[in-house]
Each structure stands twice: as structure tokens, then as C-alpha cells.
């Protein structure tokens, strides 16, 4: 009934040895979500070449799940096209970690949201127009961020 948090091996691997940790110098796009008051904050920076994410780094303030989802998201994205990367869902992130404790599922949102915002940031900077859908998703992320 009381269910203290239990992480699986995969999560622990990413937490203990996170991939792509840090901040890119002169990134092509940056996305930041969350805030310290609500306990999770993520910053993702990307390098893009010919529509492909060639490098990515994350910074995370947060729990074990937040760090692990950040790490696994970066590994999922590297080498993908922007379109492919955009489509990485919250579920894909959780699946790549072979599951998260229920009360930690929201962390997978944060990671995919931060990535999304980095891509949008890149597109804006490079004059790539956003579709209605993309604008909507960005707005939604920002709103959630405040309300959380």
C-alpha cells in the first residue's frame, strides 16, 4: 500500500553514469523546463547539422528519475533528424528506461519537453517556420511548467 520508490536497473545505470551530461558551448538550440521550487528542472542543449542532431547535452536538477530520463533522452536523440527527435514521446522515454515508478512518470514528460523546446528554439533561431501543431505544443509545455 505505502509504496516507496523503487527504480529498476536501467534507471540506476543512467543515474550512476549519465550520458551526455553538461552544457554545449555555442549550442544551436536550448530548451529549459521546470523550476527549482517544484523540484525538477532540466536544460537541454543541441547541435544540429543538416537537420540532424549531432550533439546533445543535459543539465538536471532533480530526482533520480529526472536525471535518468535526461540521460536516456539524450542517447535516444543523438544522430536523429529533428523530425524524428520531435516525435520522441514521453512514453518512448519511459520505455527506454524499461519503466518508471508510477509517481515518477511525470519526469519522462520533463525530459521530452525540454528536448522539444530545444528543437523549437533551434527552428526559431534558424527561421524554420513552426506548424500550428508545434506552436500549440510549445504553448502547452510552458503552461504546464507554470502550473506544476
Amino acid at each position: 500500500m505505502t509504496n516507496p520508490i523503487k527504480y529498476n536497473k536501467k534507471v540506476m545505470e543512467h543515474f550512476s553514469n549519465p550520458h551526455n551530461m553538461g552544457e554545449l558551448e555555442n549550442p544551436d538550440g536550448v530548451g529549459e523546463v521546470g523550476n527549482p521550487v517544484c523540484g525538477d528542472m532540466m536544460k537541454i542543449s543541441i547541435k544540429v547539422e543538416d537537420g540532424i542532431i549531432t550533439d546533445i547535452k543535459f543539465l538536471t536538477f532533480g530526482c533520480v528519475a529526472a536525471i535518468a530520463t535526461s540521460s536516456v533522452t539524450t542517447t535516444l536523440v543523438k544522430g536523429k533528424t529533428l523530425d524524428e527527435a520531435e516525435k520522441i514521446t514521453r512514453k518512448a522515454v519511459a520505455d527506454a528506461l524499461e519503466g518508471l515508478p508510477p509517481i515518477k512518470m511525470h519526469c519522462s514528460n520533463l525530459a521530452s519537453d525540454a528536448l522539444y523546446k530545444a528543437i523549437v528554439d533551434y527552428k526559431k533561431k534558424h527561421g524554420i517556420p513552426l506548424s500550428e501543431e508545434e506552436i500549440g505544443r510549445e504553448k502547452k509545455i510552458d503552461e504546464e511548467d507554470i502550473h506544476e
Binding site: 505505502t2 509504496n3 516507496p4 520508490i5 543515474f15 550512476s16 549519465p18 551530461m21 553538461g22 552544457e23 529549459e32 527549482p36 521550487v37 517544484c38 523540484g39 525538477d40 528542472m41 532540466m42 536544460k43 543535459f58 543539465l59 538536471t60 536538477f61 532533480g62 530526482c63 533520480v64 529526472a66 536525471i67 509517481i103
Partner: protein
């Protein structure tokens, strides 16, 4: 550290049952299984053993044995004291005062009474988690019947000014209850000298068995039972006695009284060493709670730019068990309401870790922790966007 060993720095969550306590309990699980209420001696003689346990617990608090009522733990004791007293004395008034840093077993009991028409006021605390005496005085009313303030703040260990509180209340004949769960066995408590009317605690916090506790109720104070039924505990707390538990609790009380003089100085030394070591070696940290007026085994420190769970996990990976707050509160809360009441900003409160020491801890363990912790904090800070921002702005 040896492979199979770990460092247990979460003694406020629970402690290991002392082998002497287990030994004292075993006969009552085995051959001495009789019901103390029975007519035949095989059962009734157990009352003599319970009497000894009651004396042992009373001695620890300097209470009279017939002022001690055994319960299933401090949560029950606190519920009973607050609800039972309020319901028995509502004709005198329906106003209660509690501190703003109480455990849920106190604050939710008060909440419950609200539905029955009682009014509850909360005493604000200072930055150390200690109640503001002047504010407290202002809250007192003609219809105030009960004040409940924990003996020591359950999360940072700051000691409340019990003496000052009871001095104020004595004149007004208002009853005083204290949740002493983190204090009993860690600091001498004299209910007579301190003029305490009711005091609740658990056995498992000082090497006694889980599922045991007691409520001290000063003679002359009327409370309704929380648990009605048979005539056990002078008709005040019904139910067949948890005999092994009671015997174990008595033994734990006896051991605490005997051993406190030797382990309190030891705990204090370890606590100071751990506190000083961390404050020295790690920048941007903050000791929560009063630097001196605190329990000898509490080290609650906030680490800026970090969140507690990831620190806890890294500590576990180094074999160190600690907590990021009160273990028995809700998991869902990200920020401790106690730290919030103390005015600790939410982001700082997130990164607080409580090391609580016990009599089995050693200086070696403290030194190991002081050695490992800076690396952990450094590693996590390297991941933290907040730390990066801070560094850039320096």
C-alpha cells in the same frame, strides 16, 4: 567499509531492536503467552511483569507508574492525547493551540477536531524551527484548553522551550501535551520538573520494538479513551495487552536510562564532527535547526542547487542510509512542511538531508561520510543547471 555492512544514519525512522530487548520479549512470545486478565496465575502473574515494564517507562520520564498507559505507538498516543482530552474537556472550551511544526499525528488529530467544532491555532516558528514565545502568548484565549508542541522539532531536532511554555500555561490551568517521539531516549526528560501534562512516544525509536508506545497522562487529567472496550490499562486503553511489546518497551526504557549518560556525549561528539565536517568541506550549505539547542543526534543540512532524492541515492551507492525528511510523512510531498514553516526557501528545502545518529554509530562511519559526501555533492552539482547559473554569475 566492509562489503556487507552499511552505515545506518536514519535512526529517527526507526532503530534496531536491542538484543537485550528481544531477549526480554521472547519468553512472552513463547511459554508466557497467558492473557494478563485471566484468573489463573499462568495469565495473571504477567501483570507483575507488566507492572515492572510500567515502572521502567515511568522511571525514564520521572512519572508515576500509574501515569503511564501503553499504546501501539506515538501516533496512537498523540491521537489519543489530543482527541481524548479535547472531547473530555470541551465544556471548558473548544480552542486548541499547536505548533506549526507538528507531525501529522498531532496536526491531523487537531484537524479532525475542527469538524467537531473545535478551533485550532498554530504557533509560528523562527528560522530554527523553535516556536515564537511572544506569538504563542498572543494566541492564548479564555477558551483555550490544550496546547501541543513537540519536545524537539521532528525534522531538524531543535529543542522547544518546554519550560517557558509550561510556566505560561500553569497560571492559566491550560493542559500541555508534547510529542516526544524523537526525544525520549536521546535526552533526559523529567515530566515533573518540566510540568508536562501529557507526553507521547514510540518504542522503536530508541531500540524498543515496533508497535509499542506509551502516553504519559498526569494524574488528575481526564481524557476519554480513543479505543473503547475492556478494562485494560485502567479502562483507558482497551484491548488485550501486547505483552511481548510492553515487556520490550520496558526493557528499552531501562536500557536508555542506564546507557544515556554514556551515549549522549558520544552522539554529541559524532553529531558535531559530522556537522562541522560537512560545513567545512562543502560550500553553499546550510545547517537546518538550531546549532546548539538541538537533539544530540540530528544533522539536517541543505545543499544548494540540489534535490534530496538524488543525494540520498548517491549516499546509498556509498552504503550510507539517510533521509530527506521525516520518514513517516507523506512521500508525495516534495517539500517538507516543517522546513517551509521555518522559512527555508523551497529550492533549498528540496536539497536537505537528515543524518540521524544512533548509539551504534561510530566515528569511523562519520569520517567516511565526511570523506564521501563532498564528491557526491560535487558530482550532482556538475549536473545541476542551477549550479551552472550560479557559477556563471559569480
Amino acid at each position: 567499509m566492509a562489503e556487507d555492512k552499511f552505515i545506518y544514519f536514519d535512526n529517527i525512522a526507526t532503530t534496531m531492536t536491542d538484543p537485550e530487548v528481544i531477549e526480554a520479549m521472547l519468553p512472552y512470545l513463547n511459554e508466557k503467552f497467558g492473557n494478563p486478565s485471566s484468573f489463573y496465575e499462568f495469565g495473571s502473574q504477567i501483570n507483575d511483569d507488566i507492572k515492572i515494564a510500567r515502572e521502567q517507562v515511568a522511571a525514564l520520564l520521572n512519572a508515576d507508574p500509574d501515569e503511564i498507559y501503553f499504546t501501539s505507538g506515538s501516533t496512537e498516543s498523540n491521537n489519543w492525547a489530543i482527541k481524548g482530552f479535547a472531547l473530555a474537556n470541551q465544556s471548558k472550551g473548544k480552542h486548541l493551540i499547536i505548533s506549526s511544526v507538528e507531525h501529522y499525528s498531532v496536526s491531523h488529530s487537531a484537524e479532525f477536531l475542527k469538524q467537531l467544532g473545535f478551533e485550532i491555532s498554530q504557533i509560528p516558528v523562527d528560522e530554527f524551527g523553535i516556536i515564537k514565545i511572544e506569538e504563542f502568548k498572543k494566541l492564548l484565549r479564555a477558551d483555550t484548553i490544550l496546547v501541543s508542541v513537540n519536545f524537539a522539532n521532528g525534522e531538524v531536532g531543535s529543542l522547544q522551550p518546554i519550560n517557558e511554555i509550561t510556566d505560561i500555561l500553569k497560571e492559566r490551568k491550560i493542559v500541555f501535551h508534547t510529542d516526544a517521539v524523537q526525544s525520549v531516549g536521546y535526552i533526559p526528560i523529567d515530566v515533573k520538573k518540566l510540568n508536562i501534562d501529557m507526553l507521547g512516544f514510540s518504542g522503536h525509536r530508541f531500540y524498543g520494538p515496533k508497535g509499542t508506545g506509551a502516553l504519559y497522562v498526569k494524574k488528575g487529567i481526564r481524557i476519554l479513551p480513543l479505543i473503547n472496550g475492556g478494562v485494560q490499562e485502567s479502562g483507558k486503553r482497551a484491548g488485550t495487552e501486547n505483552v511481548p511489546g510492553i515487556i520490550g518497551l520496558g526493557k528499552a526504557a531501562e536500557l536508555a536510562q542506564k546507557q544515556m549518560p554514556s551515549y549522549i556525549p558520544k552522539l554529541t561528539e559524532l553529531r558535531n564532527k559530522l556537522t562541522d565536517g560537512i560545513l567545512e568541506k562543502i560550500e553553499r550549505v546550510k545547517l537546518n535547526g538550531h546549532p546548539e539547542k538541538r537533539l544530540p543526534n540530528f544533522v539536517n543540512i541543505s545543499y544548494e542547487f540540489l534535490e534530496g532524492e538524488s543525494i540520498l541515492m548517491m549516499l546509498i551507492m556509498k552504503g550510507i542510509m539517510a533521509a530527506s525528511g521525516s520518514a513517516c510523512q507523506s512521500k508525495a510531498l516534495k517539500v517538507s512542511p516543517v522546513l517551509t514553516a521555518m522559512g527555508v526557501p523551497a529550492d533549498l528545502a528540496q536539497g536537505s538531508i537528515l543524518f540521524s545518529l544512533g548509539k551504534h554509530n561510530t566515528m569511523e562511519e562519520v569520517e567516511y561520510t565526511i570523506k564521501e559526501l563532498p564528491t557526491i555533492i560535487e558530482r550532482l552539482r556538475m549536473m545541476s543547471p542551477l549550479y551552472h547559473k550560479f557559477k556563471k554569475n559569480q
